[in-house]
């Protein structure tokens, strides 16, 4: 296989915010990571490790202080509009029907209403929203809302998608079901996904590669290739190989959490 350029390459990325008392806060300090085309890559880290800042930079919402972001091996003139972005909140607009919410990306890129709706309808089944397209978002369950938000992101048609803790607010059972479902969907059309979570098991279960970030300033602490076979199912969760990966990733996170706790206690 010839080496295709990485879908996303982040090199030496740093971000400094002006602090409250005239000082400066380093949110990111020299972050490197790469995502190959069609890969599912996760970032895990404690809250406040700069994951969201990283996402905002890659999505083009915030300029970095240093370093660069490459898409398909090139530095684009503008990142805005190039990358699919799904923030933590589902951000479904309560005044739009489910159908009109999921077609938002198509609408913004100038696709006609009829065509946008047709494309959305074709995907409703796969996203478990069949029969709910005319409902208001407020009528949907938490899991359905997340699937609708994901469909909105998918339909926007970007090859690289950033998903920021999409299942963070769901109960454990719904979350498990949605993880399995997300893998099915991803297996279907192999979009490139960069996924943020603080749940190590979720990261191992979903990903080809997991980056562990440490907090303040955010840096990449560890990078682990997850060589577990696909397709992956629920049974994988108990396997020794799975548990070993989880353990390995948890070690630096656990140490960091302990250190932070001791700092607070002492």
């Amino acid at each position: 296989m010839t080496a295709a350029p990485d879908k996303l390459r982040v090199e030496g990325l740093s971000k400094r915010f002006p602090g409250a008392d005239g000082g400066a806060v380093d949110a990111l300090a020299g972050v490197d990571l790469r995502v190959a085309p069609g890969e599912f890559v996760s970032i895990v880290g404690p809250s406040g490790c700069g994951k969201s800042t990283l996402f905002n930079i890659v999505a083009g919402l915030t300029p970095p202080t240093g370093g660069r972001v490459l898409l398909d091996g090139e530095q684009p003139s503008a990142l805005l509009g190039r990358v699919g972005y799904m923030p933590q909140k589902d951000l479904l607009m309560p005044w739009r029907s489910v159908l009109d919410n999921v077609t938002l990306g198509l609408e913004m890129s100038g696709v006609g209403r009829r065509e946008a709706r047709a494309r959305a309808r074709a995907e409703l089944g796969r996203f478990g929203l069949e029969g709910f397209e005319r409902r208001w978002p407020d009528d949907l369950s938490g899991g359905m809302r997340q699937r609708a938000a994901l469909l909105r992101t998918f339909l926007a048609g970007r090859e690289l998608m950033l998903l920021d803790e999409p299942f963070g607010a769901l109960d454990a059972l719904t979350r498990q079901a949605l993880q399995e479902w997300l893998l099915d969907v991803w297996q279907g059309d192999r979009k490139t996904i960069l996924f943020v979570t603080h749940d190590v098991e979720e990261a191992v279960y979903l990903s080809d590669r997991v980056y562990v970030m440490s907090g303040r300033p955010g840096t990449v602490e560890l990078c682990v290739e997850i060589d577990l076979p696909r397709p992956r199912t629920f049974e994988l969760l108990g396997s020794p190989a799975f548990v070993a990966h989880v353990q390995r990733l948890l070690t630096p996170l656990h140490a960091a959490a302990r250190a932070q706790l001791e700092q607070v206690v002492s």
Partner: protein
């Protein structure tokens, strides 16, 4: 009876019965104490006085309704326009918002005589006074609504390539609609007050003018009847706003009905 019909009856009947009870007590109290009609007429006296002067009420009511309709429409344009302007530019907001608040400290009815000097006795000073007393709640509520748009939603729209105008149309404007309607409902009550004041200062027609004339004649029953018609106009305006709200904000209404 269907559940829905029972729900409507449950909401309409109690206030209606309450009003009837109050009117009945009023009627009995006037009769029992033998109060003069010129001091406090009984509801039945008000009703018959109103019926006898129905042509006067219709003619003058029409004048007042026209003033309110134009003045209220002007208040909506002014209020929403100001809110959009202040929301679109931080500089405009900083420069103008304090003065917007200060403008409400000016007793608007007090400037009505000046308006009469400028524009004469026609409909213009009334429209201006009505617009000035009722634009403020519309402007402030709309501005709050626009600014309450989730910032993450605006970020999401930026990543989808939406420019400023699209972000406004797709996210900020719909976000502002519920508070815009709150402002419209407050403004509806103020518009009627504004109309009466403006007519008191200088006019030769309208329900406010009619009250002044009747007051000179100590025609108390007729005054009460006129006030009742004014109240009905206010209620009708409020009802129209509620109706528009239900039609334009079906998601909002569905949500509230579920919680209720």
């Amino acid at each position: 009876m269907t559940v829905r019909a029972r729900g409507v009856a449950g909401r309409v009947l109690p206030p209606l019965l309450f009003a009837l009870a109050v009117l009945a007590i009023w009627q009995l109290a006037v009769r029992a104490t033998g109060t003069e009609e010129s001091t406090l007429p009984a509801p039945t006296q008000v009703l018959s006085a109103g019926w006898e002067m129905r042509d006067l009420l219709v003619d003058n009511g029409w004048v007042t309704i026209k003033e309110i309709a134009i003045g209220y429409a002007a208040a909506i344009v002014l209020g929403v326009g100001l809110a959009v302007l202040l929301a679109s530019s931080l500089l405009a907001e900083r420069a103008m918002y304090p003065w917007l608040v200060v403008s409400q400290m000016v007793p608007i009815p007090a400037i009505a005589p000046i308006l009469v000097i400028w524009t004469g006795f026609d409909i213009r000073p009334k429209v201006i006074v009505i617009a000035l007393v009722s634009f403020f709640p519309i402007a402030v509520n709309t501005l709050d609504g626009i600014k309450s748009t989730e910032p993450e939603l605006l970020s999401l729209l930026r990543t989808l390539g939406a420019g400023r105008w699209r972000r406004f149309r797709v996210a900020q404007l719909p976000s502002a609609l519920p508070s815009l309607f709150t402002g419209l409902k407050i403004a509806a009550a103020l518009a009627v007050i504004g109309a009466v004041f403006a007519e008191w200062v200088g006019s030769d027609a309208g329900l406010g003018y009619l009250i002044l004339t009747l007051n000179n004649q100590v025609a108390t029953s007729e005054m009460f009847a006129t006030i009742a018609v004014l109240a009905l106009i206010g209620i009708a305006l409020f009802g129209l706003v509620r109706l528009a709200e239900r039609l334009l904000l079906p998601w909002h209404h569905a949500h509230r009905a579920e919680r209720a």
